[in-house]
Amino acid sequence: MTTVKRLWSLGTGRFGILIVALVVITAVVSLFWTPFDPGAVDARARWSDPSWPHVLGTDNSGRDIASLLMAGARTTVVVAIGAGVVASVLGIALAALGSLTARWLRESIAVLVDILIAFPVLIIAMMITAVWGGSLAVVIWAVGIGFGVNIARVTRPELRRVLHSDYVLAGRASGLTTGQNLTRHLLPNVAPVFIVQLSWGMAVAVLAEAGLSYLGFGAPVTQPSWGVLLSDLQAYIAVHPLTVVWPGLAITLTVLGLNLLGDALREAADPTLAERAPSARTHVPGVVA
């Protein structure tokens, strides 16, 4: 069975794939079509209850919440992917520097990673905010940096493990050059650990966007975003409790989807796990905002 098939065969994996696909598809669709213009304010339609044509109701400016949610998926996708890219580049660079280089450099990088890992994502975000002011970029960089360090920390030992594995040695004994060994054995074997971390990292990014937007350091208010919507609407929870449910639910489901996808990926990516007892699976929690 291929990894993808195994992933699909796991209940959690299927759920994760479906949720993530749903979010991505929604984001793409929202580029071309939303029920209403998500930015269009309509003072006469403020606080509509869920009903036709505003299926999820409207907000305090009379914007259609369903449309905002759809358009907000874009921001979520951008943040998740952006943070993912930053985290990947940083994480891989640190992991590679921390395992493939000279001993003193390796060890120094390891120490640096150990230090940086203590910086919570939000603190990094605050530092960046203090420099650039709040924006989506802040979320992306902060989570990217924070999770990149995390990825490095998890990937580095994995890289070293694979590096010292018999099959890499066997590769050398078969005449593979370092580069060939890297692409044939090292990367494919480290990738799963990395992808799993990435999936969890993206979940953290989505949560961090919500947290930072709430503190006013996230997406600009005019950009449709679940985090902004949540923090806009949370003030009215006592009078319009239903409205704040939607963005919260969207965030929770997406994060849940990404988390489960990560869990399932880890299970599916290891061809041997399927044969082992469930006890062979461990869980490392993400550093969360």
Partner: protein
């Protein structure tokens, strides 16, 4: 409101405010939060103003005053028996020193207000004489501000964390991040405060504030979010009042920069804004069509001069020959997103793409206020009688009209209030006619006043909150 019970002199009045001062040194720290909390309550000047009587000038430390006919000499009679909170007596010397310091020390807030004062003297222990270089009809009003406050000369109090004034309350304790507690000053010269203690409870979050009200944690809550009004009303122990302010939500156009230097473009933008809908969306405020608010002299209802008309707006843009116009709105991030959202949507309707740049206030000061690097900017100009900004071509509005400048100078120079007011109104009309900016709304914040609270002030609470007369009924 009609309090049900007898006023209880031992009561504590708890008032929710949103913005906490960062420190108590009112002379050296900017921000309306300090004036709101301390002026009239803790610190006083020779005169003060009563917002509930259209900002009329009323006596404070001076019992009466006299303006010479040329408008250059002001003679004040100092009140007797006034003491500072530390017990020391107020002398004419304290007044002279305070004003002189304010004038000379440029780091003191509003020091520039006293720039035209040529001499400050006290011919005898109960008389203060101020001389101006040129007449200024707003001078008394200026004295009601920070520059006119009177301090104890030679005082050693650390004014950043404590206070020593002459007002009906003294600062009792300051719990940073939470609350400022004022206690009744029993040595006050006038009628003693109606409550023993005032707690100014700083709750920035609007829903938290309403929760606090609902929970009975506060007696009065300022700046109630209109959306949450029903929640407060629902419990029956509060009435919601709305008061006027001089707080003008100003959408500034960079008059110096193309294409906004073209009046047709500015007018087009104004025509695209449905002010009534905006006010409805905000849930509070009144539409305002010119630079002068009702509480200021020179106010005139200009609502007929411009009406929501997107078709005309598009025409004007076509006339001006601008297509696919893209503009940037620089807006401090302290304001709710509703305004930006509304403007983006309104301008999108006439084919103008508005990009919103939310910046923090320091960045706004830097980019917009100092460097004038902006297209559109939104801030709320809360100051009273600030029409002078339109007569100042180097102000960030970049509005340069000699006619307005001359009208304004004349308005200040005259000693006749009616005449001054007429001149200002005329100038304001010109500014509005030239679409120098758009005044999106006049803020009329809502206050939830407990039914047990009497005589709570009403207008301009965002800058003045005189609490001496307020009483709280016994339970």
């Amino acid at each position: 409101p009609n309090p049900t019970g007898e006023a209880n002199p031992d009561a504590t009045l708890t008032v929710r405010l949103s913005l906490e001062p960062s420190n108590l040194d009112i002379r050296r720290t900017a921000g309306a939060a300090l004036e709101q909390a301390l002026i009239d309550n803790v610190y006083q000047g020779l005169v003060t103003r009563d917002a509930d009587q259209n900002n009329a000038i009323v006596p404070a430390l001076a019992t009466e005053w006299n303006v010479s006919s040329d408008g250059l000499t002001y003679t004040f009679t100092l009140r007797d028996g006034v003491t500072f909170h530390d017990g020391s007596e107020l002398t004419a010397d304290d007044v002279v020193t305070s004003l002189q310091t304010a004038k000379d020390d440029a780091t003191i807030a509003d020091s520039a207000d006293l720039a035209d004062v040529t001499s400050i003297a006290s011919p005898d222990a109960s008389t203060i004489v101020l001389t101006l270089a040129q007449p200024n009809i707003d001078f008394l009003f200026t004295l009601t501000g920070r520059a006119g406050l009177v301090f104890n000369s030679g005082d050693t109090t650390n004014l950043q964390t404590a206070a020593n004034g002459t007002g009906p309350f003294r600062v009792d304790s300051w719990n940073t991040g939470q609350s400022l507690t004022l206690a009744r000053y029993d040595g006050y010269w006038g009628e003693k405060a109606g409550v023993a203690e005032v707690v100014l409870d700083y709750i920035p979050d609007n829903s938290a504030a309403v929760n606090a009200a609902v929970n009975g944690d506060v007696d009065v809550a300022l700046e109630i979010d209109p959306e949450l009004q029903s929640q407060v009303e629902g419990i029956g122990t509060f009435t919601i009042e709305s008061g006027l302010t001089t707080d003008k939500g100003t959408l500034a156009f960079n008059n110096q920069r193309a294409p906004l230097n073209d009046q047709r473009v500015r007018e087009a933008l104004r025509l695209a804004i449905d002010h009534d809908a905006l006010v409805e969306t905000l849930g509070y405020g009144e539409a305002l069509y010119g630079p002068i608010p009702p509480l200021d002299p020179g106010y005139e209802d200009l609502s007929g001069t411009i009406a929501f008309d997107p078709d005309r707006s598009r025409e004007l843009l076509a006339e001006a020959g601008v297509q696919n116009l893209g503009l940037t709105l620089t807006i401090p991030n302290v304001y709710p997103g509703t305004i930006a959202t509304f403007l983006v949507s309104s301008f999108a309707d006439i084919g103008v793409t508005l990009q919103v740049e939310q910046v923090d206030f320091t960045a706004w000061l830097q980019d917009v206020y100092t460097n004038k690097d902006y297209d559109l900017s939104f801030v709320r100009h809360v100051e009273a009688r600030d029409f002078g900004n339109w007569a100042n071509p180097s102000y960030y509005f970049g509005y340069d009209n000699p006619e307005v400048q001359s009208l304004y100078t004349q308005a200040l120079a005259t000693t006749d209030e009616q005449q001054s007011s007429d001149l200002l109104a005329e100038a304001a009309r010109i500014v509005s006619d030239q679409d120098a900016a758009d005044w999106l709304f006049l803020s009329t914040p809502l206050t939830a006043v407990g039914t047990n609270v009497a005589n709570f002030p009403k207008n301009s609470l965002n800058v003045r909150l005189p609490l001496a007369g307020v009483t709280v009924a016994a339970e």
